[in-house]
């Protein structure tokens, strides 16, 4: 089992997500971002940075995060917007957030799983990445996009090329929605990501892709988004 240091930005949704017993079971230690300087990152296999954390609180730690990555560590940023200031290789573009696409079953949100054979998807269901997203990413050279939005870039990638470690970045914000008691798919995605990080195979980001499944169309999970 991999050990996880979960950074806490002090928001209610960080608190209520991290104190959910199922989430807490995956987390080795929780640290407020202000106390991150006292944490020894190398003591953990994974450092988790939650969504909607203030980038200015993490910028002072940029060099330490880079050194941790260069030492082979894994950083997971659920906070792509603003993350370029403290993590390497991140290029993110804001997009209009569409909370409503799922109201019309005929609409295809264009989300595609690019690497169905990646170990992440042993833990995350194909429908669990299908909801609204906050921006899209251009993966740096050598990074592997796991989830794309058709014609719009990546929503979730693993970068093992920029550093000697592993940087996982997404524009989905499951901690916010799970911690707000808000959206079933966000909860499933968060549980799945954490199960992958804690118990799964992290070392196979370059998983060979079966050509027959190179490009999988993902269907929305009815009732999984929002409420009512």
């Amino acid at each position: 089992m991999q050990t996880i240091l979960a950074v806490d930005g002090g928001t209610y949704f960080h608190h209520f997500a991290y104190t959910d017993p199922r989430v807490a079971g995956f987390i080795t230690k929780r640290v407020h971002v202000r106390d991150l300087g006292d944490a020894v990152l190398d003591d953990y296999d994974v450092v988790l940075l939650p969504c909607r954390i203030d980038p200015d609180a993490l910028t002072p730690h940029g060099e330490r995060l880079r050194a941790y990555l260069d030492g082979g560590g894994t950083v997971v940023s659920l906070n792509a917007l603003g993350a370029a200031e403290f993590l390497p290789g991140i290029e993110v573009f804001p997009t209009e957030v569409n909370f409503w696409w799922w109201l019309d079953p005929a609409i295809d949100p264009g989300i595609r799983i690019r690497r169905p054979a990646h170990p992440l998807f042993d833990h995350v269901g194909a429908g669990h990445v299908v909801w609204h997203y906050h921006g899209s990413l251009t993966p740096p050279p050598g990074a592997i996009s796991l989830v794309d939005v058709e014609g719009g870039g990546s929503l979730f990638y693993v970068d093992r090329a920029t550093t000697k470690g592993r940087l996982v970045v997404t524009t989905l914000d499951p901690v916010f929605h799970h911690g707000s008691n808000f959206m079933p798919n966000a909860t499933k995605l968060l549980y799945g990501i954490l199960d992958w990080l804690a118990n799964g195979d992290l070392g196979d980001a370059q998983a060979p892709t079966d050509p027959a499944y190179a490009f999988q169309v993902v269907a929305a999970v009815p009732g999984g988004c929002c409420a009512g």
Partner: protein
């Protein structure tokens, strides 16, 4: 002295359009260095670092004792002042459990239809998904679900000052809605400023 509203920014580019030009925006990290006598109200966003905010409880309670108003949005995880309790998630499922009911009139909700809080584009659940417990003596404004559990309330503190609680997305986040929900942000500011003039 004319007082103004202090908006506690959570990120450097956190500038809600509905508040632009009507509030003084300062990052939460600046709070300790601020003389709060110049402000009649403090606006707290749902994105706030509540762990850091709670460290300023003495400063916030002194501000309230002096007659100030605290507007709090979001779920309480780390109570910033005495008398506030931790968020309780809504029980039950479906639209009934997420329906908003008006319990008392208040200038912030003047002309705001409860239905426009319950539904956005026909979807329930954006406005509130649980409640922050009502302090003794507080007035419930809007209730949630069949039990009409108060999710919005106004509390005249025994020690002085007023707390306006909204247990959900920031009230000013609805300013662009094509419904009566858009009335909340301007009416909130109007209420705060008229209250300051009344206390001058």
């Amino acid at each position: 002295m004319n007082k103004t509203c202090l908006f506690l920014r959570c990120q450097r580019d956190h500038n809600p359009g509905a508040l632009a030009g009507r509030v003084e925006a300062r990052h939460l990290s600046e709070l300790a260095g601020l003389d709060l006598h110049g402000y009649g109200a403090i606006l707290v966003s749902m994105l706030t670092d509540q762990i850091s905010l709670a460290e300023h409880s003495g400063q916030l309670e002194a501000f309230l004792d002096d007659g100030g108003t605290l507007v709090f949005n979001g779920h309480v995880a780390h109570p910033p002042i005495n008398g506030l309790g931790q968020f309780v998630p809504q029980q039950g499922r479906g639209i009934d459990s997420l329906t908003i009911h008006r319990l008392a009139d208040h200038p912030v909700y003047d002309g705001v239809a409860a239905q426009d809080l319950t539904f956005r584009r026909g979807v329930a659940g954006f406005y509130a998904r649980g409640h922050n417990p009502l302090p003794a003596g507080a007035q419930a404004l809007n209730g949630l679900g069949p039990d009409k559990v108060p999710v919005d309330w106004v509390w005249q503190r025994p020690g002085g000052g007023t707390v306006l609680m909204h247990c959900g997305l920031d009230l000013w986040a609805f300013a662009g809605d094509p419904t009566t929900a858009s009335r909340m942000a301007p009416q909130l500011l109007a209420w705060l400023y008229s209250d300051m003039q009344g206390n001058a």
